[in-house]
């Protein structure tokens, strides 16, 4: 019941007292940590071992006779729920607080909402970015076999999971975009921990064709892409939060066609109204993100 005296270190210097019990036969296979970056750093610098994260855990080592073995000083994941988020993040920040992408950890919403490193990361599994995946994958068929980042984030962000599966979505469940393509989960000074200073500067990082500058600007486009789009997913095309023509008419009321209502008998089966069928308002006002066309053609985003 206590560590074998002749045990040898298996991964880290000084880990014999742990690995004499938690050996290769143990399940889950804790020794797979040797294949992770922590295993690499431990071998290279010799300063990392089991106690660096789990604490000396003397009571765990010397199991009182006839009693259940006490837990180590610090455990993580579901089993560590009784510890506060700060206590569980503390050993990680011992080494990582100096990392540049953790500079704004204190300013971030995750820290404010009692999220700790082990909520998202797992140490023993050599998974991609050491991300924790506690639930089976629930998604359509994908052509990638990687473990995808959104599966870790949507363990908590359920509303986002629902939007990612919608008909119109960014290619996140296909593995072509990650949550960290737009957000810095380790903290940022911007709203919703986005990586850029504003929503528009973030969106035009990939959609550079929308950067302009344009002779004829569309005011809501200039201020915030999210006025019309839902970046995670929507049941409406082009990630629009509401369908055209209704979305456009929420702002544009004028004489004749902007102020008219396009109803159930105006589709192909009815009046075939060209302001409702196909792409509705965009059939003519195609350049709603801005236009460099001249005169009236540009002013009304027609060319």
């Amino acid at each position: 019941d206590s560590p074998k005296s002749d045990a040898e270190d298996l991964v880290f210097k000084g880990d014999a007292k742990c690995t004499s019990c938690h050996d290769a036969e143990d399940s889950p296979e804790l020794l797979r940590i040797s294949k992770t970056h922590h295993g690499g750093v431990g071998r290279a610098q010799g300063k990392l071992s089991c106690v660096s994260c789990h604490g000396e855990s003397d009571r765990h080592l010397k199991k009182p006779d006839g009693q259940e073995r006490p837990k180590p000083d610090r455990v993580f994941g579901h089993k560590g729920a009784y510890l506060s988020a700060d206590e569980r993040s503390k050993p990680c920040l011992e080494c990582h607080a100096g990392d540049r992408h953790l500079a704004f950890w204190e300013s971030g919403r995750h820290k404010k909402n009692d999220v700790s490193c082990d909520n998202c990361h797992t140490m023993h599994e050599p998974a991609r970015s050491q991300l924790r995946k506690e639930n089976p994958t629930i998604s359509p068929y994908t052509t990638t076999s990687r473990q995808l980042q959104y599966e870790t984030c949507t363990q908590c962000h359920k509303q986002i999971r629902s939007q990612l599966l919608k008909t119109s979505h960014h290619p996140i469940i296909e593995g072509k975009l990650d949550c960290s393509s737009c957000h810095n989960p380790h903290g940022a000074l911007s709203h919703a921990m986005i990586k850029e200073e504003s929503v528009n500067q973030l969106c035009t990082t990939c959609h550079a064709d929308k950067r302009g500058p344009f002779m004829n600007e569309h005011p809501p486009v200039e201020e915030n892409c999210l006025t019309c789009h839902n970046s995670h997913g929507s049941s409406h095309g082009k990630l629009l939060s509401e369908r055209a023509p209704n979305l456009c008419q929420d702002c544009h009321d004028w004489s004749r066609h902007p102020g008219s209502y396009y109803s159930g008998n105006q589709g192909f089966a009815g009046a075939q109204n060209t302001r409702l069928v196909a792409r509705s308002c965009l059939n003519c006002h195609n350049q709603v993100h801005g236009s460099n066309a001249p005169a009236m053609r540009g002013k009304f985003f027609l060319r």
Partner: protein, 680 residues
Amino acid sequence: EADKFSTYGSVSVGYRAVNDHAQDGARLNEYRDVSDSAIGVIDLHGRGKGNYLDFYGENLGRDDMFVDFKGGAYGIGKFRIYLDDIVHNVSFGARTPLTGVGSNNLGGTLPNLVPATWNSFDFSTKRKNFGGMAEYSGFAPWYLRADFSEVREDGLKLIAGSLGTSPGQGFSDKPFPVSYVTRNFSVEGGYSTKTAQFGLNLLHSRFSNDNELLMWRNQNFDGQDTSVLPPDNEYTKISANGMLKQLPLGSTLSGRVSYSRTKNNVDILQSILSTGGTTPATSPDRNTFDGKVVHRTASASLYSNPTKDLDTRVYWNWYDKDNRSPVVTFTPAGGSGLQCGGAACVTEVLDYRKNNIGLDVGYRINGHNRVVAGFDYVDLHRDRVDFDETKDKKYTLEFRNTSLDELSVRAKYQRLNRRSHFLEGGAGTSAADVEYLNRFIARFDASNVDQDLFKLALDYTPAKLLDFGFEGIVKENRYKDTVLGRTKDRREEFYLSAAYGDINAFRIMLFADVEFIKYDSTHRNASAAPPTFDPGAPATLTDYNWTANNRDRNYAIGLGMDWKATSRLKLNGSAVWEKTKGTVDFSVQPGGNNANEVPIGNFDNATKSTFSLKGTYALTKQVELTAGYAFERFRFSDIAVDNYAYTVGAGNTTSYLSGYNAFTNYTTNIVYMLGTLRFE
């Protein structure tokens, strides 16, 4: 032995067969390359005493190829090189009567009202994203990092345009050639320790488009028309950020400043086909548009943790968009069809400045109860015709309880009050002047609004390995002083989940999502002779108010299973059913023209069912066999595409449609087999 560079990994090769039933298979392949093909994955790792290499490659040679090669030496540095192909298929087998598809000059003999004779093409683009980064931290705490990437996007996208003076005279869909290249390069240097961090970053991004104009045949006027495509642009940004920790009261001070400039240089079209059927001069007051927009930002955040139970955060964000582009005035001839409201056209230069301050206070009542209160204030000034200043006051209160070991409760309430300064209270001279309508239009992105948000999240773990989750969000925006425009929107979203088991043995998870989303709006239908632009006036058959009530009902059920059935056999299963239904109800002011007061029952209605089952059998420790089956069924109904027709109208005012997004239903069966060789 520990110093030896050891390698491990796996190589998988197999084949996928796809049997899909779709008139237009684009939706099935929207961001994927799901076709009969060889499939393979390479996943290699190397670990030395202080260094590592990881290589990953999948879908090699396919439209969704991904290759990722990274490595590093601990405490010295790291590098990464990647190639990521992102395909976006929108419509296969689209049609146009125009010739020269793929070029920026579309001709053709028109009219041609026989779609079967039209040219066929695919609306599809592919992004080849090649990039990398290198970071050196050998002189820690100093570091130096460089990132580069080149994104090539090629293919065909849709551009449409009116043919005559207004949609009543037809429009036409056309494919424009996409040949974009975006080259990004950034370098960052800085100093980073546990108590202080400082970084300086310089970014340069150049977007270039081989085709800045699309010339095409206008069927209405039988003349050559022109559409202007996205212009080249250059984006340069310099930013600095820093952080100081272990300040008094357990404080951390963080800050960031940035200056960015976007500019381009566009030749202004000196003439363009107009609604008069001729190609008159546009008469700009300059020949080139030298676009230049400067964004300046500054942010600061002071986080303090004066006692174990109390934490506070005070933050400030400043954002300034300074539009230094020139105002361009066009003075085309009267009757040319190019004037704006019968006068010169003058472009608007839009600037805005945003000042945001906020405070969060978190207090841990005891080990199991924590409350966080927040206040956020935004003062936004903008150059816009309707609202020039907007003030937001947002109050949040969050409560977290974990008193019961098995139950965690998180509750949040948020209240937003937005008040904006309205400039158009005196617009228009009289109710017969169309400008008069602007007195009553309040655009929802800036109008006065009272918002209430309630959020409740429960996580319940009654037994080991058994988890239940619930999240409910109700958010309502009441646009207080809006007469015409969006008057209210409301979201009611409920997410349930249940999961049982150990991910390393057997685990099953079920989720169910229900969302009700509503948008209510009021509008004014006004004719041209003589109109009454006063919404308060009694209704006539030509001048009346009407309201629209948009409803979206979204439902989703998902089931997932991971099962190590035996020491050799592992099963993974997933099934998702989603249904979305969009409707609009109209009501016309009594006395108005209610002939068309017919509700819409299909606004982006979609049903999607997917099922996949995969089995992996370990023949030996090195050799695995994987076999999988997947099924997908997608049905779409929408008033804008149901009973689709490629032509609408007749003669010169015919509209020519392309079939874009019109035939997206598909059913598909996918089977695949994969052999994997693992080596340690």
